[in-house]
């Protein structure tokens, strides 16, 4: 236990300032948590569906939760059920074998709901394109609010995308 406490103290706080909110958001980052609470009544809940990615985007989504980016510190967290989710994050070109699962996950979410497509493949099919087993971009299957490009997008780009989607939502 002593070692653990010593290591925690030595590590200190690694969390960096949240990225500057996109101008389109028109809210201050420090007000973010309050805005989220006012809008959703709880933390913003995200459900991730890998619809056929190479798992590169998943690595960066996991990184968003590390101490440096600390997404949960902003009041945004990943949840296990689409029923609990306000936002659907989708990676990959949508494989034909995941098409039904993606539609069902989307349908299971309560309104209002947001969809953020993560990565070049989700944006336009990427290097995998469309083919006998790939439906290509996410918007071919479900409506998309925000797209974050990159292969894979950096954690900061993903956070900006999440914030951008939310700001649009909060304005309404």
């Amino acid at each position: 236990m002593y070692q653990i406490l010593k290591q925690i103290i030595k590590t200190g706080i690694k969390t960096e300032p949240a990225p500057q909110a996109n101008e389109a958001m028109r809210i201050q980052p420090q007000l973010l948590q309050q805005k989220i609470l006012d809008t959703f009544g709880h933390a913003l809940n995200i459900r991730l569906v890998d619809a056929g990615s190479c798992n590169g985007c998943e690595m960066e989504i996991n990184a968003v939760n590390n101490a440096y980016y600390n997404l949960e510190g902003l009041g945004i967290k990943f949840v296990a059920s689409p029923r609990h989710a306000d936002m659907l994050m989708v990676t990959g070109p949508v494989s034909r074998h995941m098409e039904v699962a993606l539609r069902r996950t989307f349908d299971a979410m309560p309104d209002p709901r947001l969809v953020v497509a993560i990565g070049d493949c989700a944006y336009d099919g990427g290097i995998f394109g469309e083919g006998y087993a790939s439906c290509g971009k996410v918007s071919n299957i479900i409506p998309v609010d925000v797209v974050v490009k990159g292969c894979p997008p950096t954690p900061v780009a993903m956070m900006q995308g999440i914030l951008a989607a939310m700001s649009h939502f909060i304005k309404e």
Binding site: Q7, G52, R96, A101, F128, G131
Partner: protein, 515 residues
């Protein structure tokens, strides 16, 4: 000669990996597999190709491995009703590969399990995407997948169906547990959800585009795949990349191993409710990724390896950054290892959990990191050390307990060994301006193999070119093909809540398997 069989003529393949190839007949397949298996060899990969345009029909390809190297066997099959004798009785890992080869190409095997594997409902039964005359529009279907899972009957037995969409941030796949109370009697896996037609996609690509695609077969192993692909192209072209490029490739591969092992060690803490471990290891991983971005322009080193060499160099000033990183990681990871080892509640969850006996591991062909945790002493960097590994003297990490604890120990050992290798590579890296001997076109009717020990296990890429030297068939093979079936055994008689822990201790690829 790596193997002797009456009438078998093997010719050596050029390239970094020691490899031979030869043609065999229907009657030779099982005896050769049997003799390789009996002498301790393994099956690496099995795939087919449609060569009806240039030859008599289809061809089945197998890559076997023994202590001398890779042996690639080509078995010509008829154009009408192509079929070959089952080898899954000899190499159980072949079972799913044979089923996948049928789904994609229509070449039949007479194994006991005739169910589809990669095909769900994206294309009709009886149509085969990798046939050159495949019509994607005609073969579309709207029926839903109806896969016959094996039923476990008995008093109090019930099923838990998990996936394809999982609760966490992971890839899609389906797990069907048959349980009594908390105890798992049987797990059956169902994959193919991320099948997006990678192999077909290769066939329309240039060599350079193919390198990018190879680096996205499984994103967490992008370096291993890009290197294996490049190695296969260089095998066909008969070229050797510049010395500095080879050393940089090894540096990238070790950095990929370091980053993934750090991440996994964090997850393995988190899965036993030790979130301190997750936080700590992911701080370390993030620092490696940031150094990658600063030094090599990509956090995961995607597209840094291309046919003929590498596309980024290590600046002289970068050496100091890497050496400091090594020192920091060694210091911190040693400290964390002590904490993991002394924390009773962690060790209680690790010890004996998800046990794979060495004998079972050998029978099923468990490979890579998970194999080494069950006494399977294979590491391509050691046995088939290509440059620069022939000058690095890699120490293999082996453990005999075969449980989650052993897979954690192997990760720690390999992490420290990779840090040692990184130091050595940085000190031995000779200055040179030449990073690439560009390869844009391959010779016609060529065949080449690349084999790289990725962080998860052996990654293989095979390339066939057509008469004009274009990519006619590319087959990337992930070690997850071998290891997924073993997970079904590792979970038996464990409790359901230990599944995430056991699964993470293997950490296998879905995308690399589903293609």
């Amino acid at each position: 000669m790596p193997i002797i069989h009456p009438g078998l003529q093997l010719t050596p393949l050029h390239g970094a990996a020691p490899a031979w190839q030869g043609f065999i007949g229907q009657d030779d397949l099982q005896p050769i597999c049997r003799s390789v298996c009996d002498s301790g060899g393994r099956l690496v990969a099995l795939w087919g190709s449609d060569e009806r345009a240039s030859g008599p029909g289809f061809v089945l390809h197998l890559v076997l491995l023994n202590e001398t190297g890779l042996i690639c066997l080509h078995l010509p099959l008829s154009a009408v009703q192509p079929a070959y004798p089952d080898v899954s009785e000899i190499f159980p890992a072949a079972g799913r590969m044979q089923r996948a080869a049928y789904d994609l190409l229509g070449i039949a095997h007479n194994g006991t399990d005739q169910r589809q594997w990669l095909r769900h409902a994206a294309w009709r039964s009886g149509s085969f995407p990798l046939c050159k005359d495949f019509d994607a529009v005609q073969s579309r279907t709207d029926e839903l997948d109806n896969y016959p899972f094996v039923q476990v009957a008995g008093h109090g037995v019930h099923e838990i169906a998990v996936g394809p969409v999982h609760a966490g941030i992971i890839e899609p796949g389906h797990f069907r547990f048959s349980v009594v109370g908390e105890k798992v009697l049987r797990l059956e896996e169902r994959f193919g959800y991320t099948h997006k037609g990678i192999e077909k996609r290769f066939e329309s690509m240039s060599l350079g585009q193919g390198a990018k695609l190879a680096g996205r077969v499984s994103g967490d192993s992008t370096v291993a795949y890009a290197w294996a692909y490049a190695m296969a192209t260089e095998s066909i072209a008969g070229t050797t990349p510049p010395d500095r490029a080879l050393w940089l490739r090894a540096l990238f591969l070790e950095r990929e191993r370091i980053a993934n092992h750090l991440g996994d060690l964090g997850f393995l803490g988190n899965d036993v409710a030790f979130s301190f471990g997750l936080t700590q290891f992911w701080i370390l991983k993030e620092q490696v990724l940031r150094n990658n971005a600063a030094l090599f322009e990509h956090r995961y080193l995607m597209d840094t390896i291309c046919p003929g060499g590498v596309s980024v160099d290590l600046a002289e000033s970068g050496k100091q950054i890497l050496l400091e990183e090594c020192a920091m990681l060694e210091r911190e990871a040693h400290l964390l290892r002590n904490i993991y080892e002394e924390h009773a509640s962690i060790q209680d969850r690790y010890m004996g959990t998800g046990y794979v006996a060495p004998k079972l591991a050998a029978q099923l062909g468990l490979c890579g990191l998970a194999g080494r945790a069950s006494s399977q002493v294979w590491d391509a960097r050691v046995q088939f050390a290509c440059a620069p590994y022939d000058q690095l003297d890699v120490r293999i990490a082996v453990h005999h307990n075969g449980d989650v604890a052993a897979r954690v120990i192997v990760r720690f050992d390999e992490l420290f060994e990779s840090l040692r290798l990184q130091r050595k590579i940085v000190s031995k890296l000779m200055p040179s301006d030449i990073l690439m001997l560009p390869l844009e076109k391959l010779p016609g009717n060529g065949f080449g193999l690349g084999l790289v020990e990725g962080w998860r296990g052996e990654v293989m890429v095979a390339i066939h070119t057509d008469a004009q030297g274009n990519l006619a068939r590319v087959h990337p093979h992930d070690p997850s093909w071998q290891n997924w079936p073993v997970l079904e055994h590792a979970i038996m008689n464990n409790v359901v809540p230990d599944f995430p822990l056991i699964n993470k201790s293997f950490n296998l690829s879905y995308s690399g398997h589903d293609l």
